[in-house]
Amino acid sequence: MATIENILSWDADAIDAVADALVQRRSDLVGLQDELDDGAPPTSWSSEAGALAAAEHARLKTVLTDLVAEISLAATAVDIAAVAVRTARRDLEAALESARVHDFGVDRTTGEVFELVCLAEPDDDQDRQAQLNEIADRIEQAWRNANHADQELAQSLLAVHEGNVSGGDGSLADAASSGALLGGRDILAPPAGDSPSDHNAWWNGLTPDEQQAVIADHPEWIGGTDGIPAWARDGANRSLLGDFRTDLQDERAALQARIDGLGFFEGWRLNGLENERDVLDEKLAALDEVEDTLALGGRQLLVLDTSGPQTRAAIAIGDIDTADHVAVFTPGFTSTVQDSMGNYDGSMEDLQLRSTEELRRSGDLTSTVATVSWLGYEAPQWDGVIGGGSVLSDELAVAGARDLADFYRGVDSSRATDPHLTALGHSYGSLTTGLALQEQTGVDDMVIFGSPGLGTSHVEDLDVPSDHVFRIEARRDAVADGGMFGIDPSHMSGVGGLSAQEATIDGVTYEESVGHSEYLHDDTTSQHNIAVVVAGGNDRLVLEDGRGAGDVFSWPVPGTY
């Protein structure tokens, strides 16, 4: 295996020149077709000597045809390797430079990244560790990509050496074409179970043709993989939609056949089978909802998974890969793709519009906004109120938080420049959001609304810059008074209160949001506040602590949290 030092010495331009030279030589030999044809013994020479001459001519033709195919295979393989090596070396150099700039050392034998300086502030530990891990991931993947390029090229050349390449029975040009097709390489599979930055580094190491091949032939590798650019995930997930639908329909047809075939004494099985069928119907309905939402245009399908009890999906409005401001909304109790995605998507579309208006109003005429409806976890439902997956338990939020944290990290990792990233959480979704933000995610702002708790009683546990955590509590929202998961956020020091009441700003009157479910309604003060945060501003925020009578009862006892 080549070392980091070896890879840094590899010359992609020289490899390119070799490919060009081989192409020229192939061309010179293919140009001998006329000589070869004219050099055949005349067919009228019908004697023993003539037959021997013809046989020798045929042998010479075969040797040359095979040689042309070999050169063509090698030219293709070398050309592909040049692209891969250039990319890997670029990525490796960039990662090493990042290490240098951030005062990390790199063992160029093992790829290990280590601290060079002692930290002045213990609080810097987590951030430094995250930086170190990301750089280590990038070095690891660039190294892996470079070695894959080397091994694949060597494999192609060894196929030539072992005489496994045939030019066929056609012309020299035909042999050149068939040889070129054999020069492709096996696409390097993604690293298993690794971080978004690992996956991004792997993706960047693929050639553009390989990336397209992955989308077409292995969409399951990237559709739900954080760290992969949104355009690619969207392409892969749209490709998977049809396959998922077919699989579910086939499964449903088989199940229906079993139901129809139940014997007289098997009635006791019916209920269970019908429940299974209902689940499949819900999943098919979820796919319908996803397709209907995508049909509105300007959207990216970032998550699609029908493998669990509930379908999971995430749809973005705008371009996650280029937007300056990205907001990710996580809803709560009773949310399902089949019944909720359309509504949430509508709310996110309104939010995108209002956030963009805030930018334009502030004089920013070019920045763009993208919003995401993230139903990438299985939110608790009514039929699970009693039990482990209950809305009264944090179990589903804990599971969902891991995926949500990766999603946030993936947004940053998949882009050359980090966007301004805002996390939005409603109801049980605010618990999922709060738990996710207790990890390092790169989120810049957080707004929770109608929250029963964040999974912590201390804002310091959230990895969000101070003064960038906000809550909104509407009048008559009993859920927001619960304080079920950590203390009531209304009482958390360091969490800024935003108004849900009617307000007039610069001559425009915004309506009040009342109850648990109006926070994102268009033209409300609540939505206005969220839009201002998403747009990265705060001078037009309408502040208000939002505490009501219900918050008196949720006041935590000092010393108990």
Binding site: S9, G39, W45, L64, E70, L158
Partner: protein, 102 residues
């Protein structure tokens, strides 16, 4: 009786074209690109593989060129042989006279 049909001029044409093919092939240098490839990727496994292919290709192009030149020579020799045999036959036939000869 075996029928033999020989066009010596066609044989010489074929020979000439094979000679041209050998000349072109002999000028196609397959060695140095593979040497350059090994030098451009030191420390990797491509270096070893490219050196093996270099050896193979140099041998192939050399033996092919030699064989084509041999084929050219054989075709020319065959053409000369058939011309010589025909001339001998013609010489033998040209002295015939007698009843029916004109």
């Amino acid at each position: 009786m075996t029928e033999i049909s020989v066009d010596a001029a066609a044989l010489r044409t074929s020979a000439g074209r094979m000679g041209e093919a050998a000349e072109v092939a002999g000028s196609v240098h397959l060695g140095w690109p593979m040497t350059d490839l090994a030098e451009a990727m030191t420390g990797g496994v491509t270096g070893m593989a490219s050196r093996l292919v270099r050896t193979d290709w140099l041998a192939t192009i050399s033996s092919w060129t030699t064989a084509v030149q041999a084929q050219e020579s054989s075709l020319r020799a065959s053409a000369d042989a058939y011309d010589g045999s025909d001339a001998t036959s013609a010489t033998g036939l040209s002295g015939l006279t007698g009843p029916g000869a004109r």
